[in-house]
Symmetry: C2
Subunit: 346 residues, 2 copies
């Protein structure tokens, strides 16, 4: 580690996207007089009669949820993508558009309205992972579905409109920008080294031991060197796997364990139900082989200083590129100093 970087404005390179991020470690001293978020601490009930995701309740579409006991998925009542869009290919001078087909699903993680991943039992998180596997494989096998994006928006500040523990899956025919960027970098490295870019990075991180958050036999959680969001983290399988469909039973459990550990740290950081968007990046389901790819899950949490002060990605970030104040190492250190027991259970 070059310690001078700790006090110097610098750029770090994201090996997965080929983009740079600006780090301003000296800037944390700045006072904050701007917008603060509400932080709700009220206790949630295990069942909410007005929640459209709770078992047995009726949704906006008129459908009634079954009395589910395990993770439950259904087609989003307000899907952004539809399976039967007409085929349109439009090009007129400099205007270019094409229709897009897809299927959007909602995955309820638990029937219990009051829970979140860090408060769920490991066995129950394992079932969520099994559901993700099943959906990835089933959606991916469908005609015309070439990519499956699994994600969770947690917290009102992340645009989540319902506190019931749930995530989403948007699957579609074209391969999205973020995946294309990473594909290029994985491939470049593979062609030169015949090994996994992320696997080799993981080894280097394990040796350096400055940004590692959690480890078990099959997975590692760390703050990537090029993290953008203040407490961004990544979960990486030790095995060079292209997608979650390849996880074996032991790995499913290990994934659930590390997911729980990481999200407990997150909740403990500001003693709040920590908001984030998380997502799994894995290979397209277009039938091609992508031996260079190494699947991983990322967490982009907006909070910076407290339960109510977030980092805004605006102005400079929108027009130039991402910028952060604390370094990845400082973020990892803060997370590592926290208890492994959830603050509500201490």
């Amino acid at each position: 580690m070059n310690t001078e970087l700790n006090n110097t404005p610098h750029r770090r390179y994201n090996i997965l996207t080929g983009e740079w991020i600006l780090v301003s470690p000296h800037r944390t001293k700045r006072p904050w007089q701007g917008k603060t978020e509400e932080s709700k601490k009220e206790k949630k009930e295990t069942y909410d009669p007005s929640c459209y995701l709770c078992p047995g309740n009726t949704r906006a579409s008129g459908d009634t949820n079954p009395d589910y006991k395990e993770p439950f998925s259904f087609v989003n009542d307000f899907s952004s993508l539809l399976p039967d869009s007409p085929e349109i290919d439009f090009e007129e001078g400099l205007l270019k558009a094409e229709s897009e087909k897809g299927i959007c699903k909602v995955v309820c993680f638990s029937p219990d309205h009051s829970l979140t991943l860090p408060l769920m039992e490991e066995e129950d998180i394992t079932k969520v992972i099994q559901m993700w596997k099943k959906e990835y494989e089933e959606l991916g096998a469908k005609e015309g579905i070439n990519y499956v994006q699994i994600f969770e928006n947690k917290g009102a500040i992340m645009g989540c409109s319902n506190p019931h523990p749930h995530g989403q899956i948007w699957s579609q025919s074209s391969i999205p920008t973020e995946i294309l960027k990473k594909s290029i970098k994985f491939k470049e490295y593979w062609e030169e080294n015949r090994s996994s870019l992320l696997g080799d990075y993981l080894e280097q991180e394990l040796k350096a031991d400055e940004r590692i958050l959690e480890e078990n036999e099959y997975f590692v959680a760390l703050v990537p060197y090029w993290a953008v969001w203040p407490f961004e983290a990544m979960i990486i399988p030790r095995r060079h796997l292209q997608h979650i469909g390849q996880l074996n039973t032991e790995e499913e459990k290990a994934y659930a364990q590390i997911l729980k550990k990481l999200t407990i740290k997150y909740d403990n950081l500001f003693e709040t139900s920590f908001p984030y968007s998380s997502g799994i990046h894995q290979i397209p389901t277009d039938g091609k082989l992508y031996p260079e790819w190494h699947f991983h899950m990322s967490f982009y949490p907006p909070l910076l200083r407290s339960a109510t002060v977030k980092k805004f990605m605006v102005g400079y970030e929108m027009f130039a590129g991402p910028q952060r104040d604390i370094t990845a190492e400082q973020a990892a250190k803060r997370l590592n100093e926290l208890s492994d027991t959830h603050y509500l259970k201490q």
Copy 2:
């Protein structure tokens, strides 16, 4: 215009970045139960003794603002970039970083605390434009400053921590990601056609007349075909100019006029002081010629349905790519139906 696209989920191509954006026109019917923003309507005073940007007041740094009557700029007291960072070039296996030098400035648009661009007089907005020109040229002429980003974060929801009318300028030695992307596309087109990509696009838009918002002799404001934010807009000079330093006196005035007109429409949309981040994209100041470039200013406003309901760029958007609900044409139509007189002055 392909009218089928109005009801069909589709992707549109951004000719300036080479990236696609997902459009889901059928999705506006979705009810919103999520987070709503506060919308403050209280009247602001023309002078606020506690504002660190008002004339004569003392800032956090201890410096006192002069009793300025025209746009006033100073070095940001909490600059993200510093002019004298030590030279560091770090590479160790897959970790790569380098120090970054720069200068960050704040530009107060007016001494009057209560104003915003749409409420300012055209002559006074012209002075802001002249200040931007001066800063672009002076900062850009400095040793080691190769790019100058002028931007404004307006509104608390856009991370702006002070309501006094002001913008920022971050200038730096390396050329940021967003500019690099556009440079590639401008250049490709130039080499093939020897004309301006954005100039040719502008001509096509003027003929189609579906997304034009405002026009004068020297500038056009429109909703770009590939708009990401619900009411995104772009101001484009008719002349093929690479940077604002090239504006003549008539063009400065015309720029001020269209800036005022566009921001009045914005405020009128939800009868609120409309939040946005705006920024000018122009050529690097590294001394090279960029004949292919065509400068422009973009507005990224987050509000979607009302003064309190915004579009969240989270989950899918972070992991896959941008997504919007209303089409660019629908957005342009709504803006065009509004009065040209500011709602506070009607």
